[in-house]
Assembly symmetry: C2
Homo-oligomer: 314 residues x 2
């Protein structure tokens, strides 16, 4: 089959072996896939992963008890026996593999496999293209699992890329007093269309927010978050960071600031919100490429300010 | 009056002007005072403070409505009008002065002044020497205000100095499964006397704690905390840190770790626990010095592994 494989460099394999579903796994024919910033980091060496990339997808099960179902899938493959699995937190399983990220071939390919228990049915009202956003939307929703947002809160989202724009829409559903910081005027237009106020970096008052959500994954974003949060406020880190950051922990302690974080989230909730039309993902699609042009698609996804690039696979 | 003043270097002044109480302030004759690690940091240049040092004390009010009362005092002098004061968080007042730390002469002196509203009566059952610990004990208790500790939690306190030993006793009151990490065997003896398990650094399993409380204020302490906390666990920073620390924020995000912090805390609660004999502070006293020997007292307090050094003033 065709597959986009990372091994020192990224290439399109045309004769990669079809995956064989293991015990409890389903074989999935991939229809659409999305390129995530994590994919871009992986090809820069993050986690030392080698194999087929990709973890945001919609597809159709071939064979087995769920034959023919249109599905998305959770990306963490848990052992089911470690203390975190026993605590009901399989997404943090100590022995987990992660689809297209760690010890498990991903979905930039014609076929992939996943445990049946990881699969979620896509309701008819959600298109394949929209379904590609279920995984990143679930990750944005995980913020609400681990950080409480009150409708009284003054909230700032830093970063208006793919992740920031999803996270801003999620935060806005709480009714909080939200402002998004973006560098590009087309991000501001998009936000204005959703009636979400936005500003350019530097245009907000220091220490003015109860909660600052950093979606940039950069040292600048974190420094801005520390500047904008009030004493006794919260910084939520919604993105990963490259390398070590120099952090002024004393400021955090003296001002009694909390730092909260989140990673993968609830697919069910993401599906419910998409099905009800409460999150606009259609506006977040920048371009479509066929699988054969995956390298061009990666180049497009890596450009500054680009939004979601979709691979059309079947 | 005699006073211990920091101005480029530390000296004992013998003819420092007596403080004059301002509107709403009481004049306090200081009887006992404690040297805190913050005092040691201030003489290394922290916050650029110049003036009379000291903020842990017991004393007697002279004059005014509370004449003759034996008191301790909260160290933050709040404006009463900023948004944090209005939110009921005067300890985080945007315009605050802080006793012996920031814009307000401290209590290593025969007399000091504080707003009457900052004062708390010392019950007869608490000695002056014990009362010196009310301020740092309140700071340890602030941890329980800002971090929830469940009796189910596996908790590790890193650091068994003055602050760590108070914080460990506070954590132990929750009934949690507590272990303290200390470098010195006399710390282990003290903890054993309180039936609190302790270990040397390196003797605990990685990712084994629900909550790690760092009382070291060092890069090593923070690194150990990150090593010991489980996924979805909490690190509580109970100390300040010198300069910027290189922090692996990606580990924090991927493992969905929370970082919580606390500073000054509830004097009332500290007084209740001391009055009920639930916290042993007598064992934390290393030495007494008269005010005249304050420089020797500072030298003693700065030695590795030393506990509380008390100045006997009146």
């Amino acid at each position: 089959m065709k597959a986009v494989r990372f091994q020192d460099t990224l290439h399109l394999e045309t004769n990669y072996p079809n995956p064989q579903p293991g015990y409890g796994e389903a074989l999935i024919r991939i229809s659409r896939a999305g390129i995530c910033n994590t994919d871009l980091e992986l090809i820069r060496g993050y986690k030392g992963f080698r194999g087929v990339l990709g973890h945001e997808f919609a597809g159709v099960v071939e064979g087995g008890e769920r034959d023919g179902q249109r599905v998305v899938g959770e990306i963490n493959i848990a052992c089911g026996t470690c203390s975190l699995c026993n605590d009901g937190i399989p997404s943090q399983c100590e022995n987990r593999a992660t689809l297209g990220i760690n010890h498990k071939d991903g979905i930039f390919a014609e076929y992939a496999t996943l445990p049946v228990e990881n699969l979620h049915l896509i309701p008819d009202v959600i298109t394949d293209e929209q379904a590609v956003f279920i995984e990143p939307l679930a990750a944005s929703l995980q913020m609400l699992h681990l950080t409480h947002i009150s409708p009284h809160d003054r909230v700032i989202v830093i970063g208006a890329g793919k992740l920031g724009l999803l996270t801003a829409q999620v935060a806005a559903l709480t009714g909080c007093d939200l402002t998004v910081i973006g560098r590009h005027s087309q991000q501001h237009s998009l936000l204005a269309g959703w009636s979400i106020p936005s500003k350019f970096p530097g245009d907000l008052e220091a220490r003015s927010a109860d909660l600052v959500i950093d979606c940039t994954g950069t040292a600048e974003g974190f420094a801005d978050a520390l500047e904008l949060v009030r004493s006794r406020g919260t910084i939520h880190l919604k993105s990963t960071y490259y390398g070590l950051l120099g952090v002024d922990l004393t400021r955090i302690v003296v001002d009694e600031i909390k730092v909260e974080t989140s990673r993968c989230g609830p697919f069910d909730a993401a599906i419910r919100l998409l099905a009800r039309g409460l999150i606009d993902v259609d506006s977040l699609v920048d371009a479509h490429y066929p699988l054969e042009k995956a390298l061009q698609a990666f180049e497009h996804a890596g450009r500054k300010g680009s939004l979601k690039v979709i691979l059309d696979i079947a």
